[in-house]
């Protein structure tokens, strides 16, 4: 019948109106600045450096200034200067650390290659997008102190990825510890048999091969 389409249409919009007050599917507006933006976990913007704890950020950076991310970055926005000395890292082993670690976020294209190639899980992608600076050049150039954020923050923004990284790192450390213990035990047992290795040159235990 002529006009039935109009009446059906009026019904649809009436349902929209009534539903917009109580049904979340019919009111999809997020009042952004007042309510925080709901971002998916995989959202990424600029990188940040992971520190093991928040109390001593510069002392617990996972980054060892290997400069792989600097070489892999396509727009070459990362600038690293190695330190001259070594400091003990989270496992106690003396490692180099970055004296200067600067990322020009105006150039960064959020490709995540630096994250993919980092062997130490030291650089991860952040989710902050509301960045505004008063200067086009220096304002968006972030240095080491501005880039360092604690592991708790990493857990907050990317729970599954942080859990996986932590699990992997603890497993690796455990394996390294066990290996060190086994090597120490083997070393302790080796002097007890001084005569045996004289005839048959026994292969040296491949200690140096396993990096800890």
């Amino acid at each position: 019948m002529l006009g039935s389409g109009i009446l059906k249409g009026l019904g649809v919009t009436a349902k929209n109106f009534v539903g917009s007050y109580h049904d979340p599917k019919r009111m999809v507006t997020e009042e952004y600045p007042d309510t925080p933006a709901k971002l998916p976990e995989a959202y990424r913007n600029f990188p940040f450096l992971v520190t093991e704890n928040a109390t001593d950020p510069m002392g617990t950076l996972r980054c060892v200034a290997c400069q792989i991310c600097e070489k892999e970055c396509p727009p070459q926005c990362i600038y690293i200067e190695k330190s001259k000395d070594k400091k003990p890292d989270a496992t106690g082993k003396p490692q180099l650390y970055p004296a200067v670690f600067a990322i020009d976020t105006a150039v960064c294209m959020s490709c995540q290659l630096c994250v993919e190639v980092c062997p130490f899980d030291a650089i991860k992608m952040d989710q902050v997008f509301a960045v505004a600076a008063t200067n086009r050049f220096e304002g968006l150039l972030l240095n080491r102190e501005q880039l360092a954020k604690p592991n708790e923050y990493f857990h907050q923004i990317r729970p599954t990825e942080a859990a996986e990284v932590d699990g992997r790192l603890t497993a690796e450390r455990k394996a390294a510890e066990e290996k060190a213990k086994a090597a120490a035990a083997a070393k302790a047992a080796a002097p007890a048999k001084p005569a045996a290795p004289a005839a048959t040159p026994a292969p040296k235990p491949a200690e140096g091969g396993t990096a800890s």
Binding site: M1, L2, G3, I6, G9, L10, V12, T13, A14, N16, F17, S20, Y21, R26, M27, V28, T29, E31
Partner: protein, 401 residues
């Protein structure tokens, strides 16, 4: 203190403060001031209501950020938005093209607002609240309405812009086409009641059957058909969706308003809303019983409150239609007016004549009267609708395999 006559008492009190020679002048000046302020504020709140209602119909929030000037925290659900819009319109730069016809360009918004406001003078807002009591009130209303078309031509021509002119011609074609169904839909009411005076038409719709069914014209077959035709024609006369081709942004920028900015644009906007409100007011008076209460036991509510409620209801319905229906093309518009609405309105006239002549039928003949009247409405509607949409509806869709 009778709520019903409170406005009248207030006016009489103010008039009594002035000397006798000025009293006639003050009396009418008060009516004019009351209409201007009340409907000015009504216009402001219609714009924010429209934006919020349209937003809710479209699954989004409307404007809800404009608060009060010094109390920044109080957002008040965005109800002060129209005042913010007014300040913006007033302070915007008024750009007039160098080759434009300055006199016409300036006069067009003035003329259109003036004639749109004239229509409010004959609407009975309450039992005793009509600004001007005219014997030929409806004729006056339509005379004021048709004069606004001249302003649209002046706007289109004065802008010296061929797109404005083209759009003004299309707008005029639309307005002239829908004048006919508008006036023809009103004639049956005049026929049945026997007078052109709006206050008498509102009075004639009093009384209730069994105390709950009001004798409004919309509850009779010819009145219902007339009301529907009036609704469609009123939407088209005030250039509102789905008939807003003249001001569709995707068609001709802003049509005849392309070269207007700032306050002049706001004046055109105001004129459109005033026209819509006045036409809604006329529709309420002619078909929805004016200031009459719907049920006998609700008569204690003042009559002007009933009028305003019905007016607000009609405007909400217009906004609902705007959020639902698609825009019509110019040829679809004119086809609807001339081939569909005009024949139905003419048949409705015959229907009302039949109704008047059979006013004396009682008993079982009343059912015959209602049946014949309803048949004269429904049968041509179905036949004409079917014939005109032959080949167009229902749509069949063929998808790529």
């Amino acid at each position: 203190m009778n709520l019903e006559t409170l406005p009248l008492q207030f006016r009489d009190w103010i008039v009594s403060l002035f000397p006798g020679a000025l009293q006639w002048f003050v009396h009418h000046l008060l009516s004019i001031t009351a209409i201007l302020t009340f409907f000015g504020l009504f216009f402001a709140f219609t714009t924010i209501a429209e934006r919020k209602l349209l937003a809710r119909l479209q699954n989004r929030l409307g404007p809800n950020r404009s608060g009060l000037p010094w109390f920044r925290r109080l957002k008040l659900w965005g109800l002060t938005q129209p005042f913010a819009d007014a300040i913006k319109a007033i302070t915007k730069e008024d750009v007039v093209p160098a080759v434009a016809d300055k006199v016409l360009h300036f006069l067009a918004p003035v003329v259109i607002v003036a004639f749109s406001l004239l229509g409010f003078a004959v609407l009975p807002f309450g039992r005793h609240l009509i600004p001007v009591e005219l014997d030929a009130a409806i004729l006056y209303f339509f005379a004021a309405g048709t004069a606004t078309e001249l302003a649209i031509f002046m706007a289109g021509w004065g802008s010296r812009n061929k797109y404005s002119l083209l759009a003004a011609m299309r707008a005029l074609a639309q307005l002239i086409s829908y004048e006919l169904p508008l006036i023809l839909s009103v004639v049956p009411v005049i026929l049945v009641v026997g007078t052109l005076s709006t206050s008498e038409i509102a009075l004639a719709q009093g009384g209730w059957t069994w105390g709950i069914i009001p004798h409004w014209h919309v509850f009779t077959p010819w009145g219902f058909a007339g009301f529907v035709i009036f609704l469609v024609a009123a939407l088209a006369e005030s250039n509102r969706s789905p008939f807003d081709l003249p001001e569709a942004e995707s068609e001709l920028i802003a049509g005849h308003l392309t070269e207007y900015s700032g306050f002049k644009y706001a004046l055109f906007f105001m004129a459109e809303y005033f026209g819509l409100t006045a036409l809604s007011g006329l529709g309420v008076t002619l078909f929805l019983g004016g200031w009459q209460a719907p049920f006998a036991f609700l008569e204690f509510i003042p009559s002007w409150l009933w009028f305003m409620t019905k007016l607000a209801g009609m405007i909400v319905f217009f906004i609902w239609i705007r959020g639902t229906l698609l825009r019509l093309r110019i040829d679809q518009l004119t086809r609807l007016a001339w081939k569909f609405l005009v024949p139905l309105a003419l048949l409705n006239l015959g229907n009302a004549a039949f109704w008047t002549l059979t006013a004396g039928w009682t008993g079982p003949l009343v059912l015959v009267r209602w049946g014949v009247s309803a048949a004269i409405v429904i049968v041509p509607f179905l036949l004409l609708g079917r014939r005109l949409s032959a080949g167009y509806a229902p749509r069949t869709y063929r998808y790529a395999a």
